[in-house]
Structures are given as C-alpha cells and as structure tokens.
C-alpha cells in the first residue's frame, strides 16, 4: 500500500469554538449512548434496595461518582474499539490469508488466543467465586484454584488458542458452526455426566463451565470478531451459508476452555496429586476463615429483644413519663382460667417495647467509603487496562508491520483509538470499583434478606427476613436475579460491540436492539435459574444438561446465521459488569443456604440462556420466511400455467 500523505491536502483551519462545535455533539452522542445502556441496571438496583428491601443506600455519593465514571469510561472504550482495535483486527484478518501460508496463519491465531487469555485473566474472577471453597469439602476444586492455578490459566489459554485456530480454519473451509458446536457440546455433556458420578470430580464442574463463560472479555471479543470479519472479507466460501459471516470464534473460545479444564481436572484426578490425595505435594492448609461465608449470628427471635430499650431511655421514662418514639404496647396475660363462665386473667402485665419499624431512609449517613484507597484503585485500574490492551495491540502491530510487512492505512486514527480504549478501560475499571461493585455488593449481599435474617451490608444490626416462611422470599430473589441479569447485560461493552458488528455485517437487517434484548432476556433467565440452583442447592448438571440438550435441538433447527449470533453472544455476555454483580449475589445467597460453599455455576447458566433465546427468535423468523416462501411456491405454479398458455 502506497503511503498516503493524508486525504485533503487543503485542510480546514478551525478555531477553538468551531472545534468545540464539532466535538460537542460527537461527545454528547456517544455519552448518551452509554447512558442509555446503563440507566436501567442502576435505577433498578437503587429502587430495589430502597423500596423493596427498604434499606438505605450506603456510600451513595461514591456510587454516583463511580457510575458517572463508568459512563465516561465506556464512552471512550467503545470509541476506542471502533477507531482502534477493530480496524486493527480487521486489517490483519484481511491481509493474513493473502500473504501468509496456512501454518503461519494458524500459529498467529493460536498465539492470539493464548495472549488474549493472559491479557484478561479470568482467574481472579474464578478465585472470587471459589473463595468459600474449603479444602476438605472439595479437595480437587480447592487444589485447582490454589495449587494448580497456573496450570488452570494455561489450560484455559491453550483452550482459547486452539479455539481461535479452529475458528479461523473454519472460515477457510466454510464449515458451518452447527457442525462444530454440536459435537463439542455433546462431548462436554457426556464428560460432565461422567464427572457428576464421582464426588471429587463433581465439584469441578461448576468451575469448568464457568471458565467457558468468563474467558472472553471486552477486549478479546471485539478483536477476535474483527479478525474473523477481516478473514471472511477475503476468503469467500462459495455459496457459503456456513462460515463466511466472520462469527463463531467466540463460540469455540467459550467451549474449548471447558474441555481443557475438565481434562486438567481428570489428569489430576488420575494422578492423585490434589489436596488430600496420596501424591499431594503442597502443604496442608488450615481452613481459612472466609468473610463471605461467615456464619450469620443466629438469634432466636422469641427470647431476644431486637431493639432493647436502653437504661437511659428507661430513666427518662421514669422521670418524665416520655416513651421512646415508635413504641408498641403488648400485654402478657399470664395464665387464664375459666371460672363461672368467665375468663379470669391473673396478674396481667403491660409490656412496652420499641417497635420494629425502621425509618425509611434513602441514603445512609455514610456517603463515601473513606477506606477506599482512591489512588491505589486508579493505579490498579490503569495497570489492568495497560495489561489488557497494550500487549495485544503491540503483538498485532508487530505481526502487521514485520511479519506481513504492511503499513496501517489510518495509522493515526488507530493510535487515537487505542489511546481511547486505554483511557476508557482505566476509567471503566475505576468506576466499577467505586460505583458498581459497592452497589452490586450491597444488593447482592442484601438480597438473601428476602428469605433469611441477615446483617445488611454496611450495617451492624441484623434485619428480619421479608418473607420468613414459605417460598416467596426465594421467588423474590429469583425475580430480582432475572432483572439484574437483564440490566447488566444491556450495559456490557463486549455485547454492545457484538451488536454493532452484527448490525453492520447484516447491513442492518438484524438490528442491534433485537440481539441485545433477546440476549439480555436469556441472561436474565439463566441467572434466575442460577439463583434457583443456589437457593435449593441443586447439582449444576441437573440444570445444565437439560438446558444444553434443548439448545442442541434449537441449534439443529435454527438457521445458520442465528446459530452464529446466538452462540457468539453466549460467550460475550459475562463481562466486567455482569460478573461482579452476579458473583456478589451468588456468594450472598450461597452464604445463607446450608451446604452451598461456592458461587460457581451461575455464570455457566447465564451463558446458556442467551443461546436459547436468540435461537428461538431465529426459529420464529424462519417460520415467517417459510410462510413467505410457500407463497412464492404458489407463484411458481402460476408461472407454469402461464407458460402453458403461451405455448
């Protein structure tokens, strides 16, 4: 490509005001787009906490600031994807097949997959989910998370690498995604059913299936999508109903790590070197106390007074006859006897106690968590952003420049885009730490209040359950979980990028809104199912297996393009917004249900849901198209008649 000095040698000279006039609508448009993505989840969480759980918002100001930062961060990040990362991926994807041999392409794809895994490590998330795991309860799981965590990440990395490789190979041969995904899922299901029969291996299932959901992050997904689109632009698959849309890598990248982790677990099971087994090398660990799983102080509501009247209040009462505000009077009648047809109460007692009604406050007195190390968090967010973006971009640029020997056409734009993505990612991380994590953490740990007595987040006194008896509390928790999943998914940056790409690739035939809504519904359903699983301590496989069997059926029936979108969106859904919210909730619920020690499995269920809903939408539209085609078949007949008439 000839180096171009830039289009339009005559540049417009713009003053400061004109610059602002151009920038302001641009910034406003992008900012409002992000606001429209996150308003639902934020409003929903706030309203739920205040009006349904009737608890005040703790650290309200900090959360507000954090959410504003999230919106700004997303704005920059999405623009960065559009300007920088996706063009970079697409250019490489389109140049690679023309100028390299197959082994080079496959090696590149493998390295990209491995690199992406290490850039956005899911291990932190998985460790958080497994923070309540006790070595004695689930030895193999404990060992995988602690002793073999390096191997775990490597296994996931290799899985993703192989997946990207196979995904690219698939484009060349135009294999339909159906025929890759269906056997893979069948294999995974069979392995999982086998695992479920062995207690030690059974513990690992949740971890393995969650790995698949977690691996693909907001940087990897757009990059890999763009790469696929670039490859498919150049490689034509003839009539190709299968490969040539550019999707599908994400799907494989969320299936293969599951397999990798299952195999890793099997290996350690066979070689018996996990915690407590014969060949265990690590030091036996004393079970560490866990904050999330800390037992809730159990009080018997009968004997203990929740809000005792203090001595000073009593003294004041004796002095002035003034009772504390909001009190209630009950009387204890003692023994009642029936004499001469009348009930006699001997020695009745009037009891004055403070009433249980809390004052409804919207915002707690604690506006800002002073213990939050702002600088340290900013630093951490920056480091994470750098780690997620810079090595991958450098790798891509290096490949483009020195392996493919190509110049970047819009080099400056791409550089601006990468800078935007970096700034956006850093801001986004900071905003999540300040705003969404405290908000989601509060709600997540407060939601068991629906069915159990807990100490609310940031408070010191326990509160009574909203529905102390019966199943209504759990139903409420499930409904909450549905909308939590729905709202968080709409805000997910990777899914937004996927939606934009789908709309662009189908020339607007498949709207982003349709994809987002159906995926969000699916995630909501999945997370709801996950809460049911935790609240009743069901085995994961009993929910996963039927769900995936149904998905297999839908996949077999659905049109190819929907198979691509549906499966890809499954891998995308669990990102930086959903995961903290869902994990907080999962751990909160798990801590209040006896026998549940880890938060695994919810994310796995959250990625089955969208496959189901998107494929269902696909089947629905296909039915309509078939109706239209049937009508066309009638016109074929008329054509024949016409031919006969003219003949």
């Amino acid at each position: 490509m000839a180096q171009s000095p830039g289009i339009g040698s005559e540049r417009f000279r713009l003053g400061f005001r004109d610059t602002l006039r151009i920038l302001a609508p641009y910034a406003r448009r992008n900012f409002m787009e992000q606001i429209s993505g996150i308003w639902f989840i934020v409003t929903y969480l706030l309203l739920f906490q205040i009006f349904i759980l009737k608890l005040p918002i703790v650290y309200a100001v900090m959360i507000a600031v954090g959410i504003l930062i999230v919106a700004f961060g997303l704005m920059f990040f999405m623009e960065g994807l559009r300007l920088g990362l996706m063009p970079l991926g697409e250019v490489i994807g389109s140049v690679l097949p023309r100028s390299s041999a197959m082994p080079v392409i496959l090696l590149f794809a493998f390295l990209l997959g491995v690199g992406a895994t290490f850039a956005e490590p899911a291990i932190a998330v998985l460790k958080a989910a497994g923070s309540g795991v006790q070595a004695a309860d689930a030895p193999l799981l404990y060992s995988l998370l602690n002793d073999f965590s390096g191997q775990l990440v490597s296994a996931v990395g290799v899985g993703v690498g192989l997946a990207v490789m196979l995904g690219v190979l698939r484009f060349f041969h135009a294999w339909p995604l159906k025929y890759l995904a269906m056997p893979a899922v069948a294999l995974l299901l069979m392995l999982s059913l086998g695992f479920a029969r062995v207690p030690v291996l059974n513990d690992v299932l949740g971890l393995a299936w969650d790995c698949g959901a977690v691996t693909t992050g907001p940087v990897t997904v757009p990059l890999v999508l763009a790469l696929g689109i670039g490859v498919c632009r150049v490689v034509s698959s003839g009539s190709g109903s299968g490969g040539h849309s550019g999707f599908g890598i994400v799907t494989l990248a969320s299936l293969f790590p599951i397999l990798a982790v299952l195999l890793l677990a099997l290996f350690h099971y066979v070689s018996q070197d996990y915690y407590g087994a014969e060949a265990y090398a690590g030091a036996p660990v004393v079970a560490a106390a866990n904050s999330a799983a800390e037992p809730v102080p159990v009080r018997s509501g009968e004997t203990q007074v929740r809000h005792p009247i203090t001595d000073t209040e009593f003294e004041r009462y004796q002095r002035t006859g003034q009772l504390p505000p909001r009190h209630e009077v009950t009387y204890d009648a003692g023994a009642a006897t029936l004499r001469d047809g009348r009930i006699y109460l001997d020695a009745p007692a009037l009891i004055i106690s403070k009433s249980d009604h809390r004052p409804v406050t919207f915002v707690s007195a604690e506006r800002w968590d002073a213990s939050t190390p702002l600088v340290a968090q900013l630093k951490q967010a920056c480091v994470e952003a750098l780690r997620a973006i810079v090595p991958l971009c450098l790798f891509l640029y290096f490949v483009l420049r020195f392996v493919l020997r190509q110049r970047l056409e819009h080099g400056q734009d791409v550089a601006v885009g990468v800078a935007f993505a970096l700034a956006g990612m850093a801001l986004f991380g900071l905003g999540i730490a300040l705003g969404l994590t405290p908000l989601g953490g509060q709600l997540g740990s407060n939601i068991p209040l629906a069915f159990a007595e807990i100490v609310p987040w940031g408070s010191s006194e326990p509160e009574a359950a909203l529905f102390p008896v019966g199943e209504w509390g759990k139903v409420l928790a499930v409904i909450f979980a549905f909308f939590l999943g729905y709202g968080a998914t709409l805000a997910e940056p990777a899914l937004n990028a996927l939606g934009d790409t789908v709309e662009r690739i189908t020339v607007g035939a498949f709207r982003k809104k349709l994809l987002m809504q159906s995926v969000a519904m699916g995630v909501g359903l999945g997370i709801g199912a996950g809460v049911i699983k935790m609240a009743y301590n069901l085995p994961l496989i009993s929910l996963l297996a039927p769900a995936y069997l149904f998905v297999l059926y839908l996949t077999w029936r659905a049109p190819h393009s929907f198979v691509n979108f549906g499966w890809d969106s499954a891998g995308v859904t669990t990102g930086p917004i959903t995961v903290p919210l869902v994990l907080a909730m999962g751990l909160g619920i798990g801590a209040n249900v006896p026998g549940v020690s880890d938060g695994f499995g919810i994310l796995a269920l959250a990625s089955v849901g969208p496959i189901m809903t998107v494929l269902a939408v696909g089947l629905f539209t296909q039915r309509r198209e078939q109706a239209a085609r049937a009508a066309e078949a009638v016109s074929d007949d008329s054509d024949l008649v016409e031919a006969e008439v003219t003949a």
Binding site: S4, T621, A631
Partner: protein, 392 residues
C-alpha cells in the same frame, strides 16, 4: 487510462441472497464477464406495536452490479430476469443506467463488446423508470423509507456506504465522523418519481445542512418486484395468493403495472411538489470510480483534491471466471472499492481529466471511471435556504 470506444451501461440487480448465485452464474457464462457483489437488505415496515421494541428482521438481499456494453445490456437484463425469476412477486429488481463517459486503467477487466443474445428485453421490463439514491444517516433511514412507501414506492433496498470528504479535511477531528450511512434505493415510474422524490427529501429534511444527499438517474431498462408494506403477518401470504390468482385468471402479469398517466415530458398526473422545493440542483453528473481496494486511498485523495465535494464509498466483492485465486482450498476474494460523487458537469469533466493524467503516474491501473447523467439532486445547498449568509 484510456476512454472506451463504445458506450457502456451499468446493470445492477437486487435479489434475495439465495437467488443471487444463480443470477451471477447466468452472467458469468459470457466471455470476459465479471461483476461486483455486495450485501444489502430489503425494508420491512411492520405496524405492530411490539416491533418498536423488538424490531423485525429485515430480509437479506444481495446486490450485483456490472459494467456492460450498451449493445448487450438488454440481453444481460433478460438473463438476470430469467435467472433471478424477477418477474415473480417479491423477488427483486434489475435496472440499467447509461454511462456518458468511461475511462479504464490497463489492468481493469472490462466486458468486451459482444452483440449476442436478444436485443429486445422481455415485456415486463420497462424503459420508463427512474432510480432514486438517497444517502442518509441510520437514524433517518427508517423515516425516509416510510415516506417513500407512503408515497407509493416499494420498500427501499438499503446498503451501507461510508461518507468521505468533509470530515477527512478536519485533521484529528475526523474521528468524529459517523462510520456508516445508509444508501436507500427506490425505483419508480417516471410519472411518479417526482412525488416519491420530494416525499423522501422532505422526510429526510435534506434541505438542512448535514442531513444527507439524494439524486436520481434515468433507467433505460428496469423491472422491480419488491414488496412494500406488511401490516399483519398473514397479509403478505394472502396478498400474494390474491395476486397469483389474478395472474391465473388473466394469463399474464401486465395488469400489475401501476396505471399512472404519463402526460409527456416525464410529468405524471399528480402534483409536482418538487417545483416548490428549494434545495434542488439540476443537471449534475455522477462520477463513479471502481478501484481495486488496495489503491482506493490514492484515488480517493485524487478525487477529493480534484474538487469532489464529498464521496460515498463502499466495498464490493469481485466475481469473474478465473479471477479468484484459489488458496488452501478456499477462494480468495478480490475486492473493489466503489467511490461515487455527484457534482456539476464542469467539475465532473475536471475530475475525469485529473484521474486520466494522475492515475498512471501513481501506478494505479486497476480502475474504471464512469460518468453518468443525474437530472436531479436534493441536498443542502449553501445560500439557498436556512443559511445565514450567502456562501462566498
């Protein structure tokens, strides 16, 4: 670059993706034939309340375009109509527009002249059509489509293009440009076209700055059978069954032609609203460059520096007989970039001259430039309306 010795026409066809391959095959049977292929979509406006929340999936379409010697244009159109079965209801459209001038680089594969096949197009193909191209932002696309359909046109065919030119001259501020615009294609009878044109111009508010651009071209041979409005999901099938029943009874499909009264000179029975419409330019030229994608940046630069006010750009896949290189069992595409600008006749001449001299100097040989007549344009024109001062 050299000018073509005989006259050429561009033939474009739109069909559902599953019919497109047959159409392409029918074209490629000819010697030296080639075509450009890109993706488009149809328009489906459903009047359900729920479609606002869960939008309908529009039908995918494929667009095929080729530069054909005018002598065989009718034959190609006939082939396309037969292969794509375009005379059936709700299948697609085909149209050919004449070129005024054509320049080709030495490496561009132009169709050779071959006056084979029927000179007469089938009866269903009309010579009294016009094609409207309307380029607007995504947000306005739906509104303009609706307006066109309300004015009696079919559901527009839409493809994406990139608007280049203005914001590229802003330095680093060029990041503010929206990536893609929608190109809406609407065909209408010459007698009806003014009404559709002005309805679309109004709906898109094209007299305001930055809203979009619309122009139309005469069609020498064209046919469209595109669905328009679907109000209920049973409606589509039922309406087609009714139409087919009438076809049976009548024994032909001529009755489907809309009965517009042609009053001569392209005026139909109806009110010409465009006469009162301000921002309209007449007698312009469309300059279209088909360039190998690798060289597109250089040509874009030449066009913009040569005085093109702005370009709309999209990419297309090249299909030819032995043109696709086989690699590792898969075909490797050759991509072309289509750059088009609409400008005054004098500027268009200048652009052609610039390209003719400069392209060879820069070693850009795989390109073809076409200029076509554009009788009417609607866009914001500085100094005519809603503008504070007259442009210098």
């Amino acid at each position: 670059m050299k000018a073509a010795t005989q006259s050429y026409a561009t033939v474009s066809a739109i069909s559902p993706t599953r019919n497109a391959n047959e159409m392409i095959d029918s074209v490629l049977k000819r010697d030296g034939a080639s075509a450009l292929v890109w993706k488009a979509r149809g328009t489906l406006v459903r009047d359900h309340w729920r479609s606002r929340w869960l939008p309908a999936v529009s039908p995918a379409r494929t667009m095929v375009q080729m530069l054909v010697p005018e002598s065989s244009a009718n034959a190609v159109v006939t082939d396309l109509v037969q292969a794509g079965r375009l005379d059936l209801q709700a299948t697609g459209a085909v149209f050919s527009t004449p070129c005024q001038q054509l320049l080709t680089g030495s490496r561009f594969r132009l169709w050779p002249d071959q006056s084979s096949g029927p000179q007469q197009a089938p009866d269903a193909v009309k010579d009294s059509l016009q094609i409207i191209f309307c380029i607007v932002a995504h947000a306005a696309g739906e509104r303009v489509s609706k307006a066109a359909m309300d004015a009696g046109a079919h559901g527009p065919i839409v493809y994406y293009c990139e608007g280049r030119g203005l914001r590229d001259r802003l330095g680093w501020l060029r990041i503010t440009k929206e990536n893609e615009k929608e190109v809406l294609l609407v065909m209408a009878d010459t007698a009806d076209v003014d009404e559709v044109f002005s309805a679309m111009a109004k709906a898109g508010q094209l007299h305001l700055p930055g809203r979009g651009f619309m122009y139309r071209m005469p069609v020498t041979a064209g046919l469209y059978n595109l669905p328009s409005r679907v109000s209920h999901h049973h409606y589509e099938a039922n309406m087609q069954q009714v139409i087919n029943a009438i076809d049976h009874l009548a024994g032909h499909t001529h009755w489907r032609d809309q009965g517009s009264v042609d009053l001569g000179e392209g005026r139909g029975a109806g009110i010409d609203m465009l006469a009162r419409y301000g921002a309209v330019l007449e007698d312009q030229r469309a300059v279209t460059a088909y360039v190998s994608r690798d060289d597109s940046a250089a040509v874009m630069e030449l066009l913009l520096d040569g005085g093109a006010p702005g370009l709309n750009v999209h990419h297309a896949r090249f299909v030819g007989k032995q043109q696709d290189a086989e690699r590792m069992g898969a075909l490797v595409n050759h991509e072309y970039t289509v750059l088009r600008c609409i400008t005054e006749a004098t500027v268009a001449e200048g652009l052609l001259d610039t390209l003719q001299t400069s392209c060879s100097e820069r070693g850009v040989e795989d390109l073809c430039v076409v200029s076509q007549e554009v009788p009417k344009v609607a866009t914001y024109v500085p100094g005519t309306r809603n503008f504070r001062g007259r442009a210098a």
